[in-house]
Symmetry: C2
Subunit: 333 residues, 2 copies
C-alpha cells in the first residue's frame, strides 16, 4: 500500500506538505504542488479513507436509506438513487446503502460509528415511524418526502398540492367543467403516503375554488380493476370530459381500455397525468404530464445535506414547483 509518507519521500517534501497539497488548506508553491502531484500520479497513491476519516473526523460518506420493497415505483426510485450517487460524487462523497427494512437504528449506527457524515432518507410517508428516531440522529438528515410532523427536519419534495391544482387548472382553462381524479391504489392511501394525500388536497382545493364537480377514484393495478374503475368513472358521473391520473402503474392499461371502448384521447376525453417523463412519452398516446423531477430532487437533497455537514443551517422544507409538459393528450372543449 502506498502511503502519504512514500509520496512525501518521493517528492522530497514533508508529509504535511503532501497533505496540504491534497486539501488545499494552506498555500503551497506552484513548484512544490507540481512535484507532489507528479509523485502521486507516479506512485498511484490513494489516500486511506479510514485514516483520513479518523484524523479529520469526516468520512465523506452519505448514508442513503432506500425503500427496497419491490414497489410499483421502482424506476423512479432508481432515478433518485442514481442522481443522489452522482451528486454525491460531485461533492466528493460516496454513498452507503441502508435499507428501510433493516429498520431504524441503522441511521444511528452509521452516524454514531462515523461511517457516514449525514443521512438521506427516501420515500418518507405522512406518519413515518422513522421520523422520531431520525430527529435524534446526531448528523444532518434530509428527507425526500414531507411527513406530517417535520418539525426540526429538512425535507425536499415536489409540491404535490401545487401539482394537483395545476392539473385541474390546465383542464379547466381548456374549458373542462367536469373532471375526475384517478388516484393511487388504495394501499398507497392506507399507507399514508404523504404525496398522494397532498396531490388529492390540491386537486380538491382547485376544483372547489372553481366550483367544479369532482369525482375521485382510487384504482388498484391489474387489467380488470382498471376496467372496473373506468366503468365507475364514466357511468357514475356522466359528462366527465377530463381525467387527472396519479397512478403510473395503471396508465398503460387505462389507455388501452379507453381505446377498446373507442374513446379517443383527447377528442372524447382529455387525460393528464403525474408520472415520469419517459413514461408519459412512451405510452400509446403520449400524455401531457407533470413529471416527478427525481434528478433535481436528488441533487438538491445532496446539496442540502452536504452543506449541513460543515455549516449550521436551520431545518428547511423545499418544495419544487411542478412543471407541466404538453404532449397533446388534452384538448379544448
Amino acid at each position: 500500500m502506498i502511503t502519504i509518507k512514500e509520496v512525501a519521500r518521493h517528492a522530497g517534501v514533508s508529509i504535511s506538505t503532501v497533505s496540504y497539497v491534497l486539501s488545499g488548506k494552506r498555500s503551497i508553491s506552484e513548484e512544490t504542488k507540481r512535484r507532489v502531484e507528479q509523485s502521486i500520479a507516479a506512485l498511484g497513491y490513494h489516500p486511506n479513507a479510514g485514516a483520513r476519516a479518523l484524523a479529520s473526523n469526516r468520512s465523506r460518506v452519505l448514508g442513503l436509506v432506500v425503500p427496497l420493497r419491490s414497489d410499483q415505483n421502482v424506476p423512479v426510485v432508481m432515478q433518485f438513487v442514481s442522481s443522489i450517487v452522482t451528486s454525491a460524487r460531485d461533492h466528493d462523497h460516496d454513498v452507503l446503502l441502508l435499507t428501510k427494512e433493516a429498520g431504524p437504528g441503522e441511521a444511528h449506527r452509521v452516524t454514531a460509528g462515523s461511517m457516514a457524515d449525514a443521512i438521506i432518507v427516501m420515500d418518507v410517508e405522512s406518519a413515518d415511524p422513522r421520523v422520531p428516531e431520525l430527529r435524534t440522529v446526531d448528523a444532518p438528515v434530509v428527507l425526500l418526502g414531507v411527513p406530517d410532523d417535520h418539525e426540526g427536519l429538512s425535507c425536499v419534495d415536489l409540491d404535490f398540492a401545487a401539482a394537483g391544482r395545476r392539473m385541474v387548472s390546465h383542464l379547466a382553462d381548456l374549458g373542462h367543467r367536469s373532471i375526475a381524479l384517478i388516484g393511487s391504489p388504495p394501499a398507497v392511501y392506507e399507507r399514508g403516503t404523504s404525496y398522494a394525500a397532498r396531490l388529492l388536497a390540491g386537486f380538491q382545493q382547485e376544483t372547489a375554488r372553481r366550483n367544479m364537480p369532482v369525482s375521485v377514484h382510487s384504482c388498484a393495478p391489474g387489467y380488470d380493476s382498471v376496467s372496473a374503475c373506468l366503468d365507475t368513472v364514466l357511468h357514475q358521473d356522466r359528462g366527465i370530459t377530463g381525467l387527472v391520473v396519479h397512478n403510473e402503474a395503471v396508465l398503460g392499461q387505462l389507455l388501452l381500455e379507453l381505446r377498446r371502448r373507442s374513446l379517443d384521447v383527447p377528442r372524447d376525453l382529455s387525460v393528464i397525468a403525474l408520472c415520469p417523463d419517459d413514461v408519459a412519452q412512451s405510452l400509446p398516446v403520449p400524455l401531457t404530464s407533470i413529471s416527478v423531477p427525481a434528478r433535481e430532487l436528488g441533487a438538491i437533497a445532496v446539496q442540502m445535506v452536504v452543506t449541513r455537514i460543515t455549516q449550521d443551517h436551520a431545518p428547511e422544507v423545499r418544495l419544487l414547483q411542478p412543471r407541466l409538459t404538453e404532449r397533446g393528450s388534452t384538448a379544448a372543449r
Copy 2:
C-alpha cells in the same frame, strides 16, 4: 463521542480488554465480558469505523457496482441489491454504492483507498469492458453474470443455457413439436448481454437434440411491436403450439394480444417464460415459469466475496440450476 477509552474506564478494565470482548479474539472471563457489555450498552458506544479500519486494515464494506440506467429490469435489479445488502449485513458488512456509469476506476479507487474490502459487480455482459480492469483490482471481486472471458474472476449466475433447455424439454415432454422463442429486444442482443445469448444457445441445443423445428424472434417492447412480432410468429410458422418467452417487458402485452386474437392459453397455445416469480403470478394468465433467483444469487455473491476477503480461494464460476414452477399456462397436446 463515546470512545473505547470511556467504555474501558466505565467498566474498570483496560482498552485492550474492551477490544477483545468486542472481537472475541482472546479469552475473557464471563464476569468481565458482562461488565464490559453493560458499559457499552449504558454509554451507547459505537466503535469508530475509521479507527477500526485503520488499525485492522479492513473496512467491513463491500463495494457494489450497480447499473443505474433505467432499464426494463429495474425490479430485478432492486431484488439483487436488496438481497446483497441484507446478506452483507448478515456478514457484518455494509454496502457502498458505485454506479456503472461513474466508470471503471471506481472499483479501483475504493479498494485502493481501503473504502471497501471487496467488490461485487452486477449486470456483467459478454464482452464487458470493465472486465480487464476488474482483474487488476487488488481485492476480491465477484461478478453477477458471466463474461465470455472470465479467466481469473469469480462469477455467479443462473445457468441460462440449462434454463433454455429446460423450457424446451418441458414443452416437448407435453407433446409440443413446434415451438418458438420470443427473445429479448434486439438491443439486448446487440449489447452482448451474455445471459440472453446463453439462453438462446440452450434453447437451440435442446430443440436440435430433439429434432424440433425452431423459430426465434427478438421482440422490442411496445404495443405495436409485440403485435407485429406475434403476427410473424403465428403466420410464418403455422403449427406453433408453444411459446418460450425470455422478455419480461413484453409478457403483459403479449398475453393481452393473444386474448384479443381469441387464442386461449394454454388451450390454443402453451406459454412458458423466464421471469421473476411475482411477474409470472400477477399476469392475467399466471405463467409457468423459470424464475431468476435474485435473492439466492445475491446471497451467494456476498458469501463468496466475504470468504475471499480473509482466505485465499481460487476463482470459481457458480451457475445456479433453474427451477421451474408450473402455473397452468402449459398443457399437453
